[in-house]
């Protein structure tokens, strides 16, 4: 039987509908490598994950457990929780890391409740002290930093997507299939699944390195296209303030803010966004913030590294032209 290092960190890696590893994998393994030996678990429907062991090893997993529990593509969360429970029994890790995605939270919640483990959610970093693994959080929209640890035992930690820059060194592929005894816990059934059509080549908002967001100042759905254009020149994801979402210019999934998606990109460009506290809560941890707004008193300027008071319909086309010219 394989033995696992004392300082093992069990990392649950999600797979995409096409069978590859989800984008969150690199950050999770990177975080794990900072505090111990990353051991990956990849759960998929039978035969659905391709080259999981090689892919996870390339991102730093020292050992890769692959599980194909029954019903993995037919029942929500429970088969993955069963696999995670079996993996944790085997590995006896110092911590379990899971992506703070929709699926990841479902698995983390059930797993922590089932195993009575301490649960820390939406961590932006992990570290190790003499007592074990500590999770670092950024709460109330980045206004406070909070460190948490379990009173004892291995914590279950969900990690905010895009928050970990550290990458682990590639390891040599070493994989083993994991036998998963079903728990019999009732689950919701998946009756149909439709892969979301990729609407553009733009990066996903969650975890994007650059974000261009538009607000009320865009004035209409047609004009919102200006946000898309700048995003494409910068290779950025597109976001929006609540005002733009409520106006119906863009879908809910674009909303950045306390009740939308929280982002921590390298660059955040706010176009015609006033910067209400609600919006700032979802973006003020960005490394560099740029704002264009015609109202000189807009609160967004209080946190902008570079602010332009002006008409965005003049400034943005000039910016796009200028950036495109330099690229050529």
């Amino acid at each position: 039987m394989t033995t696992f290092p004392e300082d093992s960190i069990l990392v649950l890696l999600e797979t995409t509908p096409s069978g590859g590893l989800a984008k969150s994998a690199a950050g999770l393994l990177g975080a794990a490598s900072q505090v111990g030996t990353p051991i990956a678990l990849v759960v998929s429907a039978s035969g659905a994950a391709s080259n999981a062991t090689q892919n996870a090893a390339a991102l730093g997993a020292k050992q890769v457990l692959t599980a194909e529990p029954e019903g993995a593509d037919a029942r929500l969360a429970v088969p993955t929780v069963d696999a995670l429970a079996a993996a944790a029994d085997l590995v006896r890790p110092d911590a379990v890391l899971i992506s703070n995605s929709i699926d990841g939270r479902d698995v983390a919640g059930r797993f922590a409740a089932r195993t009575r483990s301490a649960l820390a959610i939406d961590a932006v970093g992990v570290s190790r002290d003499e007592e074990g693994i500590v999770a670092h959080h950024s709460v109330y929209g980045g206004a406070y930093n909070v460190d948490c640890a379990p009173t004892f035992g291995a914590p279950v930690i969900t990690v905010r997507e895009g928050s970990i820059d550290v990458r682990a060194e590639a390891a040599s592929p070493e994989g083993a299939p994991l036998d998963v005894p079903p728990s019999g816990a009732p689950a919701a059934s998946i009756e149909s699944f439709e892969e979301q059509a990729v609407v553009s080549t733009r990066p996903e908002l969650r975890g994007a390195a650059k974000v261009v967001a538009g607000g009320r100042g865009l004035t209409s759905q047609e004009q919102f296209a200006l946000v898309d254009q700048l995003a494409d020149v910068l290779g950025a994801a597109v976001g929006a303030s609540r005002a733009a979402v409520d106006a119906g210019w863009v879908p809910n999934s674009y909303q950045v803010g306390q009740t939308g998606i929280s982002v921590s990109p390298q660059l955040y460009v706010a176009l015609g966004v006033s910067g209400a506290i609600q919006h700032r809560a979802g973006m003020q941890t960005a490394k560099t913030i740029v704002a264009i707004n015609k109202d000189p008193d807009a609160p967004i300027f209080e946190i902008a590294d570079f602010g332009v008071v002006g008409d965005l319909f003049d400034v943005v086309p000039q910016l796009i032209a200028s950036l495109s010219a330099r690229k050529e």
């Binding site: 919640g109 301490a118 930093n145 009173t151 914590p155 009756e191």
Partner: protein, 258 residues
């Protein structure tokens, strides 16, 4: 059908929210306390669908300090039939695990066919409690639903997950969570506010639920440190004189951001 809606009192997101730097707890006095908007949407869904369900009874379950009663009463004014309020000083600062145990015990005690919760609260932003509660109750959980259809013995809906859209279903009893795609909660009218005064409010303690908040046999998540992030300061601010786009391009290139 016994429907339970999980709601909570949160600091208003539109005001400034504070954490106490000594205790790490939310400063409940620092900002206005409101019902969490996502919980109001969950209640609105229950109220809307209750009309077509036989003998629907809607109970709001909340764990909150005693002072939250006034806020929680709004749920009764909106149309919920009953409030179960778990208020216990020993539960102040409860972690997710303890909160889930308390809520699951209160739900079991009340009796339920369907539990409806919001997918993410606007303060803790955890999004894990419904999953934890489903596990503790031993029932299916359908999360992050954008449409919901409730019938006598089954709940189904659309789930917008990472990477795709799925249709999910579960036999009752079950737990579901909904997203912001659902309509906002109704405003209580005068009749609702008057009726709320006569509706039953049950106040429970951890002991009533046979839970020991200080039990040492279960690991708990504790806060080691809390600090306020230094406020971001404003950087360069220019007024467009016809060349701001070019200056901005310059800034982005210099900082290797373009």
């Amino acid at each position: 059908m016994r429907i339970i809606v999980l709601m909570k009192e949160v600091p208003d997101t539109y005001g400034e929210r504070k954490l106490n730097l000594e205790t790490g707890l939310a400063e409940r006095g620092a900002s206005e306390a409101v019902l969490d908007e996502i919980g109001e949407r969950a209640l609105e869904l229950a109220l809307t669908q209750a009309a077509s369900l036989e003998d629907a009874e809607i109970t709001v379950v909340s764990m909150a300090p005693e002072t939250a009663t006034a806020t929680l009463r709004k749920a009764l004014a909106m149309g919920a039939d009953k409030l179960v309020h778990i208020a216990d000083e020993n539960l102040v600062g409860a972690d997710l695990g303890l909160t889930a145990e308390v809520l699951a015990a209160a739900i079991r005690r009340t009796g339920f066919d369907l539990v409806i919760a919001g997918n993410l609260s606007t303060d803790g932003y955890g999004g894990v409690l419904p999953a934890m509660i489903a596990e503790l109750l031993g029932v299916p959980y359908a999360s992050a639903l954008t449409t919901v259809d409730i019938s006598a013995d089954r709940v189904s809906g659309t789930r917008e997950a990472d990477g795709g859209v799925m249709t999910v279903a579960a036999p009752l009893p079950a737990v579901i969570s909904i997203t912001e795609r659902f309509p906002a909660g109704r405003f209580p009218n005068f009749k609702g506010i008057m009726a709320a005064k006569k509706k039953p409010v049950e106040t429970l303690t951890a002991a009533d639920l046979e839970i020991d908040p200080e039990g040492l046999e279960t690991p708990r998540s504790i806060m080691l440190a809390v600090s306020e992030r230094p406020a971001r300061s404003a950087g360069t601010k220019i007024v467009d004189e016809g060349d701001a786009g070019e200056k901005l391009a310059e800034f982005l290139i210099q900082n290797r951001l373009a």
